[in-house]
């Protein structure tokens, strides 16, 4: 079976992608309106919704980038994981009920729609849509590029295929993603998320067990090896500065409730009390799928340090190398499918909210009304956004990785004050939200483009979140809120 490892992996990947296509076709029959396309007509069961929540959060970055970060910087990235249970809990406490109630009252089909209804401000709705679009393009580009690299790594090992150009891999992998997103919209997205989430959990558990078994002495053996080489690497901060780790914790714990591809799922559930069952499932799913991040990362670093594996030229090779060299071929097949699942489960959410921003939110903010044949334009926009993101990913060089990094923080800094806090706080004003979003974009992209390094490696995205929350809070206190519509006010009181 070892002889056929590459072919087995390829079979699993083909099987997985075929399933995605099948789900896309199934969902297409259930997608007849933009309400179906963007909000699944608010008919999601709690299990589908909760798996969609955590699988959207655990992107390819978590399955590829995460182990790479542990390989590169030891325990530093554990603070990102550490923040997520707090982050998911915050999202539910602040928004799960609130957004679902508002969804029932005003029937928004996107987050900017809900923002416009709350603040009675088209400019704010427009700005929120722009922030979402900017975050989506950067984040989506990295996901698409990651997908292409994973596929390239798989195909190069198959004797009868060999090295396939990155552009071709990108086209192949994106084609599947775009197909099910165009045909089935958010319905296809969440049902593939369900399937993808389950694969991710199973894959992570099996890989974690394999990583423990691979290294002599298991987790303790890895820790002792790393301690002997560099005590700081296995200390609580890893090789990065303590302040960097703590700023990541801040950004991820508070910023999760500003991730639009996650919180829009709260508006899609069948019942308003589904949140009670969703939260523990989402938390458990994320915690289990994070085991892959910890297991592979520590194992690969320890293997290289003790001389059991050649050093990696690129930290992101940690996960693929581990799967190619140490995992059973069948497990490798499952995990590579899990890898693609992790990437696609996030990318499909981005495509959907990006299409909503382009086709629904921005036209409504400018013209005051929706486009005709909105469903047709939503599908068209999905293809265009994917194409733009893919081209950007292929030709922008280092910029795509940087934009991907600021994607999370762009969403966080723009949406946390406006939505997570503002939807619960009647004192919040449209002016404060507009200024918060603008300050978030200026600070975030300013730090990125000017290559500013904050003292002690304090994360730039975390800094922009701090600035935007501060601006939002104090400007709200100093400005007069508009009268909230009675039904919105009642929704905020529930």
């Amino acid at each position: 079976m070892e002889k056929f490892r590459p072919e087995i992996i390829l079979l699993f990947v083909i099987g997985y992608m075929s399933l995605c296509v099948g789900i896309g076709l199934w969902a297409m029959r259930r997608t007849r309106s933009t309400r179906d396309f963007f909000m699944a007509s608010r008919h999601l069961g709690f299990l589908v919704a909760s798996v969609a929540v955590f699988s959207s959060l655990m992107s390819g970055w978590g399955f590829v980038g995460g182990p790479g970060l542990v390989y590169k910087m030891g325990a530093s990235s554990f603070w990102i994981l550490c923040a997520m249970i707090a982050g998911i809990a915050l999202a539910f406490f602040l928004l799960a009920k609130r957004l679902r109630v508002i969804a029932a009252v005003r029937d928004p089909i996107s987050l900017p729609d809900a923002v416009g209804a709350r603040y009675k401000s088209r400019s704010l709705s427009f700005l929120t849509a722009i922030a979402i679009l900017l975050g989506v393009l950067g984040y989506l580009g990295t996901q698409i590029l990651a997908m292409a690299w994973v596929l390239k790594n798989i195909l190069v090992e198959v004797a009868f295929i060999g090295d396939v150009p990155l552009g071709v891999c990108l086209a192949l992998s994106s084609a599947v993603l775009v197909f099910y997103c165009v045909t089935g919209g958010i319905i296809a997205s969440v049902y593939t998320d369900l399937f993808q989430g389950l694969i991710m959990v199973v894959a992570a558990l099996l890989v974690f067990a394999t990583a423990i078994a691979t290294f002599d002495g298991g987790l303790t053996g890895m820790a002792e090896t790393l301690l002997a080489d560099d005590p700081e690497s296995i200390g609580p901060w890893g090789t990065r500065s303590m302040v960097c780790c703590l700023s990541w914790y801040f950004l991820l714990a508070v910023g999760t409730c500003g991730q639009p591809h996650v919180i829009t799922k709260f508006m899609m559930t069948r019942r308003v009390d589904d949140a009670r069952s969703m939260l523990p499932v989402s938390v458990l799913g994320y915690a289990l799928s994070a085991l892959l991040w910890v297991g592979i990362g520590l194992c690969m670093r320890a293997l290289v340090v003790e001389g059991g594996h050649a050093p990696l030229n690129n930290a992101d090779e940690a996960a693929p190398e581990f799967l190619q060299r140490y995992a059973h071929p069948l497990l490798s097949g499952v995990v590579f499918a899990g890898l693609l699942s992790a990437i696609m489960s996030t990318a499909d959410g981005f495509l959907n909210i990006g299409a909503a921003a382009v086709v629904h939110d921005i036209p409504r903010a400018i013209r005051g009304k929706s486009l005709k044949n909105e469903l047709f334009w939503a599908r068209t926009a999905t293809v265009i956004i994917a194409t733009v993101a893919a081209l950007f990913a292929l030709y922008s060089g280092e910029m795509i990785a940087l934009l991907g990094v600021v994607g999370f923080s762009t969403f966080a800094a723009a949406i946390v004050p406006t939505v997570a806090i503002g939807f619960n706080w009647k004192r919040a004003t449209a002016l404060a939200c507009n200024l918060a979003i603008l300050s978030a974009l200026v600070v975030n992209y300013g730090i990125l483009l000017l290559k500013i390094r904050l003292p002690y490696e304090f994360d730039g995205g975390a800094f922009s979140l701090l600035v935007s929350i501060t601006v939002f809070f104090f400007v709200s206190l100093c400005s007069t809120p508009r009268k909230i519509d009675p039904d919105m006010e009642a929704a905020m009181d529930i």
Partner: protein, 200 residues
Amino acid sequence: MRERLVQYGIPTFLIAAFWVVTLAIFLLPEPANVDGVAHPDYGKEREQSHEMARGGAGAERHGAILVHGWLMIALLASAIVYLLAWGASRGTQSSVATAGAGRERAKFIGLFLLGFLLFQVVLAAIFLSYRASLVDPPNTDFWGPLPTATSLVFVAWITPAFFVVLYVIFFNRWILSPRAVEKFNELVKMSRQSQQQEDT
């Protein structure tokens, strides 16, 4: 007065304090290699582009900012618990908010205070055990499979699960009480009626 303190005073204090600590950190002289160096064997300084970093001397990197770091995470944990409690008690139909809800409110505050204390103790323990490990880093104590301070990071990871449990157990009292459900159903009915009127 108490409500204004909770609604405005606490957030103002938390935001201001966070800024003070952050700026204090920014103003401290930064030691060399605070964010690690290339690993001498597997890092980028060698000809091959290997990618692994090394932390170096912990006491040198973090010794001077341990207290600042602890203050930062303590404030952050306080903000998180505050937001969780605020989110849980927001609804006017919540059993915590209604008149005569003294006992329920006391239970609510008590449980969130307990969660807050748990969180703070775990986070403080990370810093204390890290500080202890700086005495003899290569021979640091282990707790379970990892060094004590690192194991405690994973304890900090699951500590918020306490609030997840509260959410599930008290959902029908704090988050969405029967009265809130009634109000919600009324609101949906009114919304549908006004939508029908608009359509006709």
